[in-house]
Amino acid sequence: MKKRMIALVLSSAMVLSLAACGGGGKTDSKKASSGEKDEEQYINTYMVSEPTTLDPSLRSDTYSSEILISTMEGLIRIEERDGEYKIMPGDAETWEKSDDGKVWTFHIGKDRKWSDGEPVTADQYVYSLQRSADPATGCPNSYFVTPILNYDAISSGEMNPDQLGVKAVDEYTLEITLTNPMPSFLESTDASIFYPQREDIVEKYGDQYGTDADKMVYNGPFTVDEWTHNSSIKLAKNDEYWDKENVDLGAVNYQIISDTSAITNAYDSGQIDFISASSQEDLQKYESDDNNTYTKTSGGNITFQFYNTKDKIFSNKKIREAFTLAVDHDDMNDMGFSGMREPLYGWIAPALTVGEKSLREEAGDPLKDLKSDLDKSGKTPKDILIEGMKELGLGDDPSKLDVTYSLAGTSDWFHTFGEYLQQMYKETLGINLKIDFSEWGIFEDNLTNGKYQIGFMSWGAYYNDPYDMLSVNMTDFNQIYTGWSNEEYDQLSKAGSIEMDETKRMDDYVKAERIFIEDYVTCPLATSVSHQFSKSYVHSKYVDYGEDQLYFAHPGWKNVYTSGR
């Protein structure tokens, strides 16, 4: 899993690098006044792996997402202005929703064009969504289409895809009908699955659609000019793009580099303009050099341990409590994650908001509270553990308790982390913890079959709605296989997801999270942080590099320029 997790961290870093644009005035006056825009505008950057495909209906990896964000235009673009999310027009110039919040109408600009000069029309949006909903397509992200009317029946094959709740009222008016009102629907249309697709192009290339630069058409700020598989991707400015006046870059050159030291050498030699520091050593090296701008972004991904509530030992809440409260988050971040992440004391990632407010700020740090409650009661986690063991009739000697912690990875990092866990639980609970290392496929197989006790995983939020992370643990989804089920939790999460009133919605989510945390189903450990460095000549119009950035803003390379290269 380390590979996967690192990939996740790195890729989220890449996505964040895109998030690095948007926002209000330039706060860094020194850089802003340092010079004019360079004559030749280009960016050299990298990604650690090859995008799987550019087909919006088939892609699911972050690499393709990074390319599509800059080469496609959806209905809207989520950007950042003055430290807040701002929904900017994409292909849709204006939009409105019905009073019951179920019907959304988007008015597509008549000047929106594809890279081959064809106009962007509403029926292309309809086609794209129907294609993704069609079970014959095999869309891995259909998740995003689920709120749309009749999706469930279509996905199970009971209805035809043309009965999906999307309609082209006329050439430039798109109407989307939802099953239930969904407060975060507009934001969710920023996802790649909402990009339009051209039936003629899809049919022309068949299963080759999106596999090469020329087997796609683009309607975004850039086109994919060249794609040398496993080697490089070149984006070029799209002259047909409706907002091309506001696009400065002429080209973005991606090199696919997967080796960490090769990435470092490429950055140090000036071959690439961006790098994501993955070790304390790199972090310090680049931070001390003025030629680099340090952009730290956190909050979209969480790392946690979770318990199999169907397991004999971990069906006991007190035992879960002991294992959770025994964790010293700061120590784990320093020792386990080399200080590269941030400790996290609740389930919802800090980047997720309800309206303008961060849920994490509203909900506080439930785990911290529980720890201090325990301290006040004068008990230690070990006492709780022994209480739990007695309840189960397992005696009162923790050293005889047979517990295995499953890690999805076999690399050095996992072995070191495993040793840390063993030592930590030995000291705090007196347990002789066993560690099981396996590859992700096997790990996941064990999870689905309930053959584990404690597991360790990362999870990222897809879009900015706490429901996105809460739904993972709902009885119907059970996506991390804890086997946990709580009616009140399900009900509160669901209620929140369709509640239009922000205060009430926040309230529902906060309550749901608290139920979940207080039942000790998981122990959230940390949130991953992207430590991105860019050369000081790279700038962005609204939120410059080096400033705090909102996690879910995705303007791609649209607002980026260089000055003083």
């Binding site: 088939l58 095999g138 891995p140 090769a262 071959q271």
Partner: protein, 309 residues
């Protein structure tokens, strides 16, 4: 000779068949099905279609027959990770790139290695010998990723002469060729040296010298030709190594070759791609073995007599 060739080709096909079969069942015996992580979030119907697309809804034996049938037609299926890309197409696209980098490195490395080996043998226990053997030991002991990173640091970061990584320009090939060729230099220098020393002690060399031939003629006509024979043996495995052993170099320099692709398909659990590449490597290896055996027969009459039937 003809009979022998036919026999060898038959053996080759049987070996390949065995490799393909073992690979297939080994891959299938790994816990978790090939599409598990991909299909996890899919709705039921979509999942069913997905499994049907790769034939995974069929019983294992049917799958095996389908796989073998495809193999006969050089159809290794479609990559699971990269939708729309056929495994055969990927191999055809990536292997020439590996061949180009690895081949250049191998040829240059071998030539240099042979020359250094000869020098070392002729100047045994003098300073040229020590220098050559020092290089040979370095080449055999320094891990490729260390050497690659060092080269990038010196030539790209410090001197700025060459790009650190990438593909497409001739300058991109310089560092990888040096890194890969270094290993060949080391190997061949050592082989040729010991083989030369061995030949120099042979009776026919004594005879040649006794005949009053010049030292130059002795070395070129008698010693060198005979010393090169063992090199042919390792050359064949080196050729396969061009495709297989280069994945570290390819990864370090972002070369879109087959080694890099093979490793990433393993990391990504791309089953069809893993199976396809494994069979390809096996085929390549077996063919190279055959070529070497024939090369021997041509080069050395003694082998021809004993192995031909």
């Amino acid at each position: 000779m003809f009979k022998y060739t036919i026999k060898r080709i038959c053996y080759m096909i049987i070996t390949l068949f065995a490799v393909a079969t073992i690979t297939f069942f080994l891959m299938r015996s790994i816990p978790g099905d090939p599409l598990a992580s991909m299909a996890r979030t899919l709705p039921e119907q979509t999942k069913a279609n997905y499994y049907a697309k790769y034939g995974l809804d069929q019983p294992l034996f049917t799958q095996y027959l389908m796989y073998m049938k495809g193999l006969v037609h050089f159809d290794l299926g479609e990559s699971i990770l990269y939708a729309g890309r056929s495994v055969t197409g990927e191999i055809a696209r990536t292997s020439p790139i590996s061949g180009m980098v690895g081949g250049t490195a191998l040829i240059i490395g071998t030539l240099i290695g042979v020359v250094l080996g000869i020098i070392a043998a002729l100047k045994k226990n003098r300073w040229p010998d020590y220098i050559v053997m020092f290089i040979a030991i370095l080449g055999a002991t320094i891990p490729v990723f260390v050497l690659a990173s060092l080269m990038q640091y010196v030539f790209a970061v410090k001197l700025g002469w060459l790009p650190a990584s990438g593909w497409g320009k001739p300058s991109n090939m310089v560092l990888p060729v040096i890194v890969m060729g270094f290993g060949s230099v080391a190997t061949y220098a050592r082989y040729i040296k010991s083989s030369m020393l061995d030949t120099l002690g042979q009776d026919y060399v004594l005879t040649a010298r006794a005949k009053g031939l010049s030292e130059r003629a002795v070395i070129l006509k008698h010693v060198l030709r005979n010393s090169l024979l063992p090199a042919v043996t390792i050359f064949s495995s080196s050729v396969v190594g061009v495709f297989t052993g280069a994945f570290v170099t390819e990864k370090m320099f972002s070369i879109p070759g087959i080694g890099f692709y093979y490793v990433s398909s393993i990391n990504n659990n791309d089953y069809t791609m893993i199976m396809g590449t494994t069979v390809f490597y096996a085929a390549l290896f077996i063919i190279m073995q055959l070529v070497v055996d024939f090369a021997y027969m041509i080069l050395d009459p003694r082998i021809r007599v004993s192995s031909g039937d």
